[in-house]
């Protein structure tokens, strides 16, 4: 071997050695400790990803704190369960006065915060006071505008008085924020939690352990938890903003669970499901994708036109085609898994002939040789606005455009940024709009509330309905009624009217998706749309 060749060979050897050292080291990651389930201390942990940082974990403020994480640390007085059942949480029992204005809660005894301090009526009152100090921020939640006063009657009795009866008080108390409880040690000196908290101290099953902003957060079991202790020791949340990266991290085995709404694309979900290497699950409907037909537009003020449009597209085929069956065709605006919504309603079926007949009857005729129906020199055309970043909305909008085009209805599509889209809804500047209800525990009461209350955009959509005033009255009565039977009747009547009027056209029921490694068992979707699914989750072998 010549000197030159020897030199080359040495360089090559060193390079190979270096490369193997690099690759050898590469296998040891140093992000959150013990990501594996067979770690040194035999610790059982679950690693999942979330698109955004978990936030400040302040129970009384909103963005950027993430709801699922807040619900791990903080608990409500009343908990929302499947089918809208309200179960005791931090309140063991409650009584409601006959006039529906006074709520007295018996607090669960022996509950401690994660720092060992006692949970009692005084701390409940302190939390309520801190929340109500920023009343305007929380004014979107019905209870806030009717709450008159709160008192700590004794150590384990908390009472609140309302200005007027409002039946969904308990539902509002079960939402993740703001009515959950921070321990004394978390309060800032001036008691104003809206500006920040000292540390996240709650009564929930989990407590924040390690946290690195934008990178990860780990939660460990709260040793003082009053309920059944979680089966796993640790929940590790890795912050991965990109959906595709999330899927690859899962395939590599870095993640045990991908959970949420729209956290991965439908294609990725299908692909993971089809490998049969993982468990995939779809939740019950968590909300409805609907199309608003704005009745304040004179063309859409005619019931025959609205009905014709609903009859005029194949909902089943569209939902299956666009979402590959991951969403379910919706016949009613609210799915039947909420309280008061299990009402018999007549679906508006796909029927092109009926649709054409209705449009003819309404005076919108196809001119000879024309493709767009006309009446009094006006064309039957509408603008459908959609969120341009949402591939499902876009595909659905295009399908609807094509199908209605066949009927002689011209649809112009406008893709907008979500915030602009919402602005257009609120200012009533649209003909057709994709809209979603809020889900549990907000519905059905939030849904009927926006039907009657102005400024949300929905009341305006319904403004030209002949029975609008009556509808508003029914909503008001339903929200303040203390009579369960009467409330059910009112809900049935409201839902029936909406179904017949076809101004809110149900398209599909949205579901949460979960994909997890086979070692995970007992995974159940939470009944509350915003809560975490870690209760009862186990790790097998």
């Amino acid at each position: 071997m010549s000197v030159r060749h020897r030199k080359t060979a040495t360089i090559m050897l060193v390079a190979i050695l270096l490369l193997s050292v690099i690759l050898g080291c590469a296998k040891q990651e140093n992000t959150p400790a013990s990501t594996s389930t067979d770690g040194a201390a035999n610790e059982k942990s679950i690693t999942l990803s979330w698109p955004r940082d978990i936030g400040t974990m302040n129970p009384h403020v909103y963005n950027p704190s993430q709801l699922f994480a807040q619900s791990m640390i903080y608990e409500p007085l009343v908990s929302y369960k499947q089918g809208g059942k309200l179960e005791p949480a931090l309140a063991e029992a409650w009584t409601i006065s006959k006039d529906g204005k006074t709520y007295t809660f018996k607090l669960r005894k022996g509950v401690k915060f994660s720092d060992g301090t006692l949970f009692n009526a005084a701390i409940v009152k302190k939390n309520f006071d801190a929340i109500m100090k920023n009343e305007k921020t929380h004014s979107w939640l019905g209870i806030v505008s009717v709450l008159d006063k709160t008192e700590a009657v004794d150590d384990s009795t908390f009472r609140m008085t309302l200005k007027e009866p409002y039946y969904p008080v308990l539902q509002d108390l079960s939402v993740v924020r703001p009515f959950r409880f921070l321990g004394e040690a978390g309060f800032p000196d001036d008691g104003d939690t809206s500006k920040g908290i000292k540390k996240p101290v709650g009564t929930g099953p989990w407590m924040l352990d390690e946290y690195k902003q934008d990178e990860y957060a780990t939660f460990k079991r709260n040793p003082n938890y009053w309920g059944t202790a979680p089966k796993v020791d640790k929940i590790i949340v890795k912050i991965i903003p990109d959906g595709e990266t999330r899927v690859m991290a899962f395939e590599k085995g870095d993640l045990d669970l991908i959970y949420g709404e729209g956290v991965i694309s439908l294609d990725a979900f299908k692909q993971l499901r089809d490998t049969n290497n993982y468990v995939t699950k779809l939740s019950e409907p968590v909300g409805t994708r609907s199309l608003l037909l704005n009745s304040s537009n004179p063309k859409l003020a005619d019931l025959r036109v609205r009905l014709a449009l609903q009859h005029g597209f194949n909902k089943q085929a569209m939902v299956e085609g666009v979402t590959s069956g991951l969403e379910e065709k919706a016949d009613t605006v609210l799915s039947k898994n909420y309280p008061y919504t299990n009402v018999d309603l007549q679906p508006v079926d796909y029927d092109v002939e009926k649709s054409k007949a209705l449009l003819d009857e309404a005076g919108w005729k196809l001119p000879a040789g024309g493709t767009v129906r006309e009446k009094d020199g006006q064309q039957l055309d509408f603008e459908l606005i959609f969120d341009k970043t949402d591939p499902i909305q876009k595909a659905m909008a295009e399908t609807i455009q094509a199908e209605w085009g066949e009927l002689g209805v011209k649809v112009n599509l406008t893709g907008l940024e979500l915030t602009v889209q919402i602005k257009r809804l609120r200012s009533n500047q649209f003909d057709l709009y994709f809209w979603y209800n809020y889900g549990a525990p907000y519905d059905p009461h939030s849904f009927i509330n926006v039907i009657a209350k102005k400024s949300f955009g929905i009341s305006e959509v319904l403004s030209a309905l002949p029975m609008k005033k009556d509808l508003d009255q029914q909503v008001h009565e339903a929200l303040s009624s203390t009579d369960e039977t009467k409330r059910q009747e009112l809900y049935a009547s409201i839902l029936k009217t909406l179904q017949e009027q076809s101004a809110i056209v149900p398209i599909s029921y949205i579901k949460k998706t979960a994909v997890y490694q086979k070692k995970i068992t007992n995974f159940v979707f939470p009944a509350n749309r915003d809560e975490n699914p870690f209760e009862g989750i186990e790790i097998g072998k």
Binding site: K27, E29, W140, P241, D242, T245, K252, T419
Partner: protein, 314 residues
Amino acid sequence: MISYIGKRMVAVIPIVLFATLVTFALIHISPVDPAEAYLTAAHIYPTPEILEQKRHEFGLDQPLLTQYIQTLQRISRLDFGTSYLTNKPVWDEVKVRLPATVELALSSMVLSIVVSIPLGVLAAMRKNGWIDMLSRGISYFGASIPQFWLGYLLIFFFSVRLDWLPVEGRGTWQHLVLPTLTLSLVLIALYTRLLRSSVLEQLQETYVQYARTRGIRERVIMLKHVLKIAIAPLITGMGMNLGKLLTGTIIVEQVFSWPGFGRYFVEAIFNRDIPVIQCYVFLAACLFIVCNLLVDLVHLYMDPRISSKGRTEQ
């Protein structure tokens, strides 16, 4: 020299002013009300009362001119205000994230220099040889592939399939490998071609012929004479790209979950977090200006024919 730098620094002021004005105008032309965007992002229904309160809190109920002047006053004190979203001082948030972005940008810059200089020179020396073909291939690939796609490909092969490197996150140098590769490939593509053509051009010069006739070894000609001149366009390119790199890590940070400034900025845009957007634009403008100045200074140092007054003296 010092007065030259001084003059250039003074020129920074109108440029930064212009950048802040354009940003301010763009934000206010946008049909989205930042208060509304904040509430939407927070899943709070924007009732009129709370909208009004938030607008007041953010100072958006003030006349536009007052808002702009206040912004300028704050920026001149290097106070970037409080993030609408997190309620924390913007500068504190930026300080935490900036090192990650700088780390990524510098490592990409270093890798691209280390690879492209030898590759470019060899490609020129062995024109139409296999190494030239290779460099052409890399350049073609690097210039045409979208960065996010390259990122996915790298993750798929090196992390998922081969299990050599982590998929995402930051912490060890292994985490740095794939994002650095992703970011630097396009630079390698650019620099290699730039250097190749510039070396080829120099090789035609008479001083090279003269050196050859004097019997100086090819390697010495290349390293001591040609490279020194041929590298000038590369330095310009690098200076321009350093700014671009720091501001251009956004996509790569998103794909690799890199906890940097770029990701923070993207979120700020979606949430119309104006103080953050303004801070970002301000820093980016300063960075581009400083990089340009650095390039000019390096040129000045390397080529004495260029005077600090900016004209070429014979």
